[in-house]
Amino acid sequence: MRPRIRATRAWRFAAEATAVAVALVVAFPLYWMVLSALKPAGEVRSAHPVPWTPNPSLDAFRRVFGQQDFGRYFLNSLLVAGTVVVASALIAFLAATAVARFRFRFRTTLLILFLVAQMVPVEALTIPMFFLMRDSGVLNSLLSLILPHLAFSLPFAVWMLRGFVKAVPEALEEQATIDGASRARFLWQILFPLVLPGLVATSVFSFISTWNDFLFAKSFIVSATENSTLPMALLVFFDTETPDWGGVMAASTVMTLPVLVFFLLVHRRLVSGLGGAVKD
């Protein structure tokens, strides 16, 4: 019996050592990003980089925020992502309620269409979107980023929220009706708070895909650069013969932080939300 227990212990130790080692490898790029952003310029451009810095400095961040419009780009990114998150949550909630709680003609057809719509490769639509935005006069404005992302996050949000709406017992609505609540009141004061965990999970996805957007910002904001978003500001430091690595890492840090904070705030709900969507 004894050797077997020892073997199990050795296995467990090996598993835990592996887990810690993998965690370090996975975290290393982010550590290196923040570290390089804090290194003075000379150290970033050293042929023998070291994994610490004796004299951290905020110079790179100063360079980044000193760049014309960087703050504005940051706000633009927040504004675009925030609008998409709120609008798609509200619109998807209504649509999900319709497909989950009502039976009507074409319900199944609609559901299949929502599923198919999720698979449409956003990037393939850049060309017609470009002409659409141009013809409706919103090219070069923030709206030209908000609208496409709204369309792209909706199908997934509806699909995901459907499971959460379905899980709310029918009896609750009957009870609410008996108690004299109007349908609108039931919708917003009872159903909406109940599906909030699902809304959080869908919000994460729409926030991230919008915040990450690079292609649309590059294609739709061509002349009015003051309406550009963070990725474009990042490229100023990166897209040259000799990149300003300190600046690139500082800009990357600034761009990653909001998502990281958002993630840490909601990750428990996100995981349970994912579980819910997957089980469904």
């Binding site: 467990r12 598993a15 835990e16 810690v20 965690a23 996975v26 975290a27 790029p29 982010l30 290196w32 990003m33 980089p49 619109i91 998807a92 649509a95 309620t97 319709a98 497909v99 989950a100 009502f102 039976r103 319900r107 299949i112 599923l115 698979m119 449409v120 990037e123 393939a124 639509l125 850049t126 060309i127 017609p128 002409f131 659409l132 369309a151 959460f164 379905k166 899980a167 708070p193 109940l194 599906v195 991230i208 990450n212 690079f214 292609l215 294609s219 990725p231 990042l234 690595w245 890492m249 990357s252 840090t253 990653t256 998502v259 990281l260 993630f263 349970s272 994912l274 969507a277 089980k279």
Partner: protein, 308 residues
Amino acid sequence: MAEAPPQAGRRPPDPPVRQGRLTPWLYLAPALVVLTALLAFPVCQLGLISLLEYTQAQVSGGEPTSFRGLGNYAELFADGQFRQVLLATVLFAAACVLGTITTGCALAVLLTRVRALPRLLLTTAALGAWATPAITGSTVWVFLFDADFGPVNRVLGLGDFSWTYGRMSAFALVFLEVVWCSFPLVMVTVYAGIRAVPGEVLEAAALDGASQWRTWRSVLTPMLRPILLVVTIQSVIWDFKIFTQIYVMTGGGGIAGQNLVLNVYAYQKAFASSQYGLGSAIGVVMLLLLLGVTLVYLRLLRRRGEEL
């Protein structure tokens, strides 16, 4: 108020018939308006433009638009570079999916074997990678592998080896970044799936004398199949249309276009050389390929008797 987790196992009853036939359509209206105007319409436009001779001359109104029929497609498939990009896209996406799923599943299993602290460390690290925007992930990985200032070449003793110079090494670098930022979703989802398997099932298997491997193959894998299906399909779709990573890490598609994938190729054709007709045809090819994947997915769902 209590949260309402979706019910597992027991299928909720069909939605009841209610009075007010218009109500569901009222609820659906905003979503349908947005999706028709910004998804369905552009898809139709894409198909239309792909059949036209549509370059800078036509866009600016200098020349009339002419109908080319399938001319753009004929031109594409006669083009050796396009066929090569198509092949590279499929192979690269397949490699990324395989890498992501194996890494994610292996680490999910590892998570079930360790105590709370190592688990917290790994989950937190993965959460960080997951949250990193594609563009910052790309710049950071290029910097890590930089020939002059990156730590990776120093540690591996590679001198001033340039990762982005060679075709395979550049694809390998992008592959690593893609797996890094996409395995967490798989890991977290599969881990949640394993945890949701009732303990009694595993106990019963152990009582029946099933080995670890046997339990894994005959009990867990079938129970996890729906989850694995969803994450695999998501990875296929996601990896097939990678744009940012290739564009940023290989400087727009690599030296002489050696690292081009369909998306970047279409972008270059349309926006760099103003061949919107050709670019749209590439878009249609992508759309059709992904539609094929979707149909396979729908069939699998149907075969398992999923209700919609």
